[in-house]
């Protein structure tokens, strides 16, 4: 046996060297995938467990109920305050003496660059691919209602932020849970803040990192051909490392400036495709409405469409998740409520406008295959997703839809996806870091530990397959929402007081326009 081992080892090594690189690489991807799926399965199962006797996940109901409660409690604030929100972003109410501070527009743009991204491109494709066109209806509804959730959390984010003597600020759910609860004499604030921070770190590693790396890799292979995911992962990790550890802020700055341009380009292209196919717009909306209430034969029927719509909307605009409250809390304003007004535009732009455009392009360009006789969508062999042209799913489905109109667009989309993925990663590395330092304290070493973990997860995300990654990403993000929304319920009277005070002062002219 010993002799055999001695003999076998060099042979095995030689064989490994001689074996095609791709075989080794693929098996490495599979190993990473397997370990990842096995270690996160329990967490995913818990978050997405359905109500007993139904297939309806409790977490989706949690989000729907919260968004409805905030909408009603603030008397449809998202519609009432919409024009005022636009005025605030334009700077009509900004004191010229505060020039040079973070403006409402900048806080909104930075928060948006963390949310607008793959959720709008790949996430929508996943929703429509599983839930059918009807998922779009529920997604829009979730976006509209989510505006009230975002309003609540971002107001609190500014109100209870920490301002340090050196002028820097830290805000977010962990701060309003701690300070807000103690101010109201409620117990458990610290516990919720710690729990939120743990989930925020997982969310940063999941949706804010692995999902991005995964879909960026999918998009690159879509253009240049198949190659192992861990290679993309290592390249991405190296760039992220250079920015967040090496302090190469110039890369992040360039991305922050290019991402909005890509966003506009994406929307304009989608609009052109929709307008060129103007004769199908009515039909597409018909599919969306009838799919929302009949299911059109998709797996899970109406409930399947609703679940997908709400899930992907929440994943895309992060309303109720608490992440945006971290970004928005840096704005310079004497009135915390103004940042709430501004932030409610975020789910509108992200979900109601951009996600709907993606969905319309996928539907209008005929990517989903339906039975010409019954009009019902055909499911694939597994019976869980709708058959698509060439079997595309995720970002590849969106890419195929856009490319069917403009062949060259897949290259633009590939660049957009990579940049979106990158900017989302930078934003989430910041959110995750804020949660990490809340738990473990500020300090170079503790920060470095988180940053290195973040980079390792870039590689895992790119190498793992979409299923386990998307499940874990959703679960982690929704876990944040569980804790955050509990806090919002207890603190929403604070927001209401701020709102009433502000509105009465606005009416009397005490709060006036500067421009």
């Amino acid at each position: 046996m010993k002799t055999f081992s001695k003999f076998a080892a060099p042979v095995a090594a030689a064989a490994a060297l001689a074996a095609p690189q791709s075989v080794f690489a693929q098996s490495m991807d599979e190993t990473i995938n397997q370990i990842f799926a096995n270690s996160t399965g329990w967490f995913v199962n818990f978050i997405f467990s359905p109500f007993p006797g139904t297939s309806f996940p409790w977490i989706v109901a949690w989000l729907v109920v919260a968004a409805t409660i905030f909408t009603l409690y603030f008397a449809f604030i998202q519609f009432r305050a919409f024009p005022h929100s636009i005025s605030l972003v334009k700077g009509d109410y900004s004191d010229p003496d505060d020039a040079g501070e973070v403006s409402h527009f900048q806080a909104l743009a930075t928060a948006l660059s963390g949310t607008v991204g793959l959720g709008n491109i790949a996430g929508v494709a996943v929703a429509v691919g599983i839930g059918g066109p009807g998922a779009t209806f529920w997604m829009i509804l979730a976006g509209l209602m989510g505006m009230a959730s975002k309003f609540t959390e971002c107001t609190l984010g500014v109100k209870y932020r920490n301002e340090y003597p050196d002028g820097t600020v830290s805000g977010g759910p962990m701060y309003y849970l701690t300070k807000g609860f103690s101010e109201r004499g409620l117990p458990g604030g610290k516990f919720l803040a710690v729990l939120f921070s743990v989930f925020c770190i997982l969310g940063a590693l999941g949706g804010g990192n692995m999902f991005q790396a995964n879909q960026a890799h999918a998009q690159i292979t879509n253009v240049v051909g198949d190659f192992p995911g861990w290679i993309t992962g290592i390249v991405f990790a190296a760039i992220v490392f250079a920015v967040i550890v090496g302090g190469l802020q110039s890369i992040a700055k360039v991305t922050e400036k290019v991402v909005p341009i890509m966003g506009v380009l994406y929307c304009v292209t989608a609009l052109i495709i929709i307008l060129v196919n103007y004769d199908k717009i009515g039909w597409a909306f018909g599919q969306i409405f009838s799919g929302a209430f009949t299911g059109l034969g998709v797996a899970g029927g109406v409930v399947g469409a609703l679940i997908q719509g709400f899930k992907r909307a929440a994943f895309s605009n992060e309303a109720g998740v608490g992440s945006a409250a971290i970004a928005h809390s840096a704005v310079r304003t004497k009135e915390p409520i103004t940042e709430g007004f501004v932030s409610l535009l975020e789910p509108f732009i992200d979900t109601v406008v951009i996600c709907t455009m993606t969905a319309l392009v996928i539907i209008i360009t005929g990517q989903l295959i339906s039975d010409p006789n019954t009009g019902l969508y055909l499911l694939d062999e597994g019976g869980s997703t709708i058959q698509t042209v060439d079997g595309n799913k995720g970002v590849a489905l969106t890419s195929a839809a856009f490319s069917s109109a403009f062949g060259w667009f897949k290259y633009i989309l590939a660049i957009a996806v990579i940049l979106f993925a990158f900017s989302t990663m930078i934003s989430w590395s910041y959110y995750g870091l804020k949660a990490w330092t809340f738990l473990f304290g500020e300090g170079k070493t503790t920060e470095l530990v988180f940053k290195i973990i973040f980079c390792i997860f870039v590689v895992i995300g790119a190498a793992a397959s979409l299923g386990p990654v998307i499940d874990f990403s959703d679960a982690a993000i929704f876990a944040m929402a569980v804790v955050n929304i509990v806090g919002l319920y207890f603190l929403m009277p604070v927001v209401k007081r701020e709102l009433e005070s502000y509105m009465s002062r606005l009416k009397t002219g005490e709060i006036k326009k500067f421009h």
Binding site: A99, A109, G167, V169, K257
Partner: protein, 144 residues
Amino acid sequence: MPDVFLVAYDGSEGAKRAAKYAANHAKSTGGSLLIAHVLEWSPYTFLTPNELEERHKRRGEELERAETALVKPLLDELSGTGVKTESVIKYGHVAETLCKIASDSGAAQIFIGRTGHSMMSTRLFGSVAGSLSQIAPVPCTIVP
């Protein structure tokens, strides 16, 4: 009431010439000087989350640097002329902000130095002196 002469100052040689020219003018007419330094800023730019967090701190540092490295040395230099001199540092679009300062302070005239950029860069990016000559609410003297 003596006239206030506004000097647009960015620390360049042209701006120094404009300040001296304005000081002579103020001395001969019994007017006073208002030295204005404007830091170019737009509320519609895009910042990273880190930049958002540090913006307030950075603003403080930028204002202090402008005060100590640019404006203070000029004020020291002009103190010998006997002309009453004040200063203001603001953020914003440079030409527009200078016009606003001129209106708010009731300045009688604006003095600005010519930077002497090439024709090409001026055509591409414009110049503060050029914009000011178009939009200034009061007479504007461009000092070569």
